[in-house]
Amino acid sequence: MSIASGVSSEHIHAASQTVVKLRDEISKAVVGQSSVIDQVIIALLASGHVLIEGVPGLGKTLLVRAMAKTFNGTFSRIQFTPDLMPSDVTGHAMYDLKSESFKIRKGPVFTNLLLADEINRAPAKTQAALLEVMQEQQVTIEGKPLKLDPPFMTLATQNPIEQEGTYPLPEAQLDRFLLKIMIDYPDTNEEYQLVHNVTSNSIGDAINVDDIQPVVNAEHIINLQKVTAELTVDSRVSEYAVNIVRQTRNWPGISIGAGPRGGIALLRAGRAAALLHGNDFVTPDDIKSIAIAGLRHRIVLSPEMEIEGQTPDTILQNLLDSVDAPRI
């Protein structure tokens, strides 16, 4: 039994090539961080949102702007602060004296790629407003539902240091993110190249995405998302994903395991990973490759593991080493 593909293999092949082109273009601006780029593309293809965690200055904004440019999409950025209000995110109605009527002023969420910088600095009310937009893909202002233009993707960032005065995202809201991506320092060569790229022929340290050529347009991205959603998934691969998720609920180091959304996320992201790998079908390898990113924000470690300094990644790696891969 399998979830059959309704798209021809040529179509899929072409889609796969487009995705590779997309990745190459982004790599021109973002030096190194190949796994981060891959995971962001996977989230875009799977029509999901990502939470990026890393210290400041590792090129998160650059990544989003570069990505927006590859498909001529719009991009906006919100710096989350403790005094940020929900209407600053979604928009609001304003009374226009000339026309003597209320005019709706759309907020920064009306865009293709939204960078929510340091999302944990805003209070729960504002976070919830954004997370609702992510889920519903629409904003209601003055009782009027306003649809967001697809593709819409949120890239929220978090800073692992400076936890003072932050509002950590509750588990239920973390679940809305398809992947949680950890961004780390680049290695020596990559950093050397990065410093060279930023400082050559440029004034100041402004982000430069001029080298990036648009590969597709927003319509294409929607098509790619459709193709991704229709890739073949064998029932054993789905079982494998579900087994992994179910195992998180019984694993000794995990006090709260992932919910069914975890399994759904693994399959969605697995399909996108398969397309990125140039396949028109999903293998257990695809699921395994995104399992840690797809589950690390959906589990809560047991207190003793946290005291021992274990991270969700190590626990999940051990868990993946214990779940049997499907075979005949």
Partner: protein
């Protein structure tokens, strides 16, 4: 020395009890002990610390080194007070010079580190013995109380440490940060920013601990000494006889019996009694013998009872051997303590603790060796290879598949083609793939886990650097891709591809070793 004037009850005590008696003595006369100790030591402490103001560590060591001198004052007070002579503070102070100087050099040099100092001190100070006589006397006394004396020293060292750290703890809890910082730096000699008074303050803390612990140490040792003498010289018996003799003198009618008893028991006393005032009178030899006979025939002395029971022969043998040993010991006049008594000694305790410690050490050493071996097996390159060889034995089935060589047909390629022809393509491909995994696990000793996906298997094979040549790896890649397409994309290969894969199987993975 008038033992009948002793202010404590005279009886043989267990070492613990004796030490406790010593502690009680300190509590009884603590005012005099503390005052005289302070008057003697405080000036010494101040002088040493002022002279060695820049070398506070040396000051502490010097003050500690002079400890045997200070011990003599508490001993002087206690030893007199115990025999009913509680001296006034004035007299004590007058006696101090005479107490400190005798044998000072010897005490501060070769005998300074004596672990039973407080026990030996009375021999010096009270018996005033020197040279060989002192050594002999000390040895006799130490025979059965040496362990307890050593235990007391150890206990007092611990108590000093506890008090010292408690005082430090108090300072850290209550003193402002400026002072605690100064104390912290002074605790580490050689720190550059030492405050001049901090080292002296720490020395003063040490002084306080000595002030608290030292009198108890001296009194404990003295009590052990008194107890040992009570055992050796039968002080309790002597006192009992003296009281008896006093009673005999008054009513004459009982004198005959008391005198007989006295005569009988004198023989049992181990060392000569200093003076026995009671003298037998009014009985001839024959009468006395008759009286003894009568008394011995009474129920209290002369009753005999025969008991019959079974005993193991070996036990008897051992008992006899023990008996012999005992008799030998009895023949030695210096050893006069029963086994039962010695079992309550500190020596026994330290022996027991020692043997437990030894066992723990051996177990720890053994565990360390085992851990080292495990660590080596796990992490050294040779060990990793070895553990992979060990792993070779483990897997019989992986991923729910039988992967023993026996579970495979003799000719895997042919069997796969047969299955293909029987219209069972997925099982045919599965057989080829399973055959490769079996060979990798059993022939090449590659450690494949159940959680390894197809991609993982390829990576493991490449990283393993096994006997597989590039062609075999390429074949494995092709087979994996074909298998993945069939299993997960439901796209079967052409018959030609299948034929090719089946034929090449033997070439790459056919040789089972």
């Amino acid at each position: 020395m008038q033992i009948d004037k002793m202010s404590a009850r005279v009886r043989p005590r267990k070492p613990m009890e004796a030490i406790d008696l010593g502690f009680m003595m300190v509590q009884q006369w603590w005012k005099k002990i503390a005052l005289s100790w302070l008057i003697l030591t405080l000036p010494i402490f101040i002088i040493i610390n002022v002279i060695l103001i820049d070398h506070e560590v040396w000051a502490a060591i010097l003050f500690w080194w002079l400890k045997p001198l200070y011990d003599r004052v508490p001993l002087h007070i206690i030893s007199r007070a115990l025999f009913g002579n509680v001296e006034s503070l004035k007299n004590i102070l007058k006696a101090i010079p005479g107490l400190i100087f005798p044998h000072m050099i010897k005490m501060l040099t070769i005998l300074r580190l004596d672990p039973t100092r407080s026990f030996n001190l009375p021999v010096w100070q009270l018996e005033k013995l020197t040279g060989g006589a002192r050594a002999q006397r000390s040895n006799v006394l130490k025979k059965l109380s040496g362990g307890s004396a050593f235990g007391l020293t150890f206990l007092c060292i611990l108590m000093e440490l506890i008090f010292f750290f408690s005082i430090l703890g108090l300072v850290y809890m209550f003193a402002p940060e400026y002072y605690t910082d100064a104390v912290s730096t002074a605790l580490w000699p050689g720190e550059a920013n030492n405050v001049w008074w901090a080292g002296m303050l720490i020395n003063f803390f040490i002084y306080i601990t000595y002030f608290i612990v030292e009198p108890f140490y001296v009194a404990g040792g003295f009590a052990l000494y008194i107890n040992r003498r009570t055992q050796l010289e039968g002080w309790d018996i002597e006192i009992a006889f003296r009281q008896l003799a006093q009673r005999i003198r008054k009513p004459k009618s009982y004198s005959s019996v008391a005198a007989v008893l006295l005569a009988c028991t004198i023989g049992f006393i181990f060392s000569p009694i200093e003076k026995v005032n009671a003298e037998p009178e009014g009985l001839s030899n024959a009468e006395a013998k008759q009286a003894i006979k009568e008394i011995m025939e009474k129920d209290e002395f002369g009753k005999e009872k025969t008991v019959v029971r079974w005993r193991s022969k070996d036990k008897d043998k051992k008992k006899e051997e023990k008996k012999d040993e005992k008799e030998e010991k009895k023949a030695d006049p210096k050893v006069k303590k029963s086994d039962k008594e010695s079992s309550t000694d500190f020596g026994w305790l330290s022996l027991g603790l020692g043997s437990i410690g030894e066992v723990i050490l051996w177990v720890a050493a053994f565990a360390l060796i085992v851990l080292a071996i495990i660590f080596y097996l796990r992490w050294s390159p040779a060990g990793i290879q070895k553990s992979q060889k060990i792993n070779k034995k483990i897997p019989k089935s992986l991923f729910g598949l039988e992967i023993t060589p026996e579970s495979l047909p003799d000719d895997v390629g042919q069997a796969a083609m047969d299955l293909w022809n029987k219209n069972d393509p997925l099982v045919a491909l599965s057989l080829l793939y399973r055959g490769v995994l079996t060979t990798l696990v059993h022939r090449d000793g590659i450690n494949l886990r159940g959680s390894a996906t197809e991609g993982d298997c390829i990576r493991i094979v490449i990283n393993h650097g096994s006997k597989l040549n590039a062609d075999s790896v390429a074949y494995f890649r092709q087979l994996t891709t074909t298998w993945q397409l069939a299993a997960y994309a439901h796209r079967l290969p052409d018959t030609g591809v299948m034929k090719d894969l089946s034929q090449r199987w033997v070439q790459h993975f056919g040789a089972q070793s």
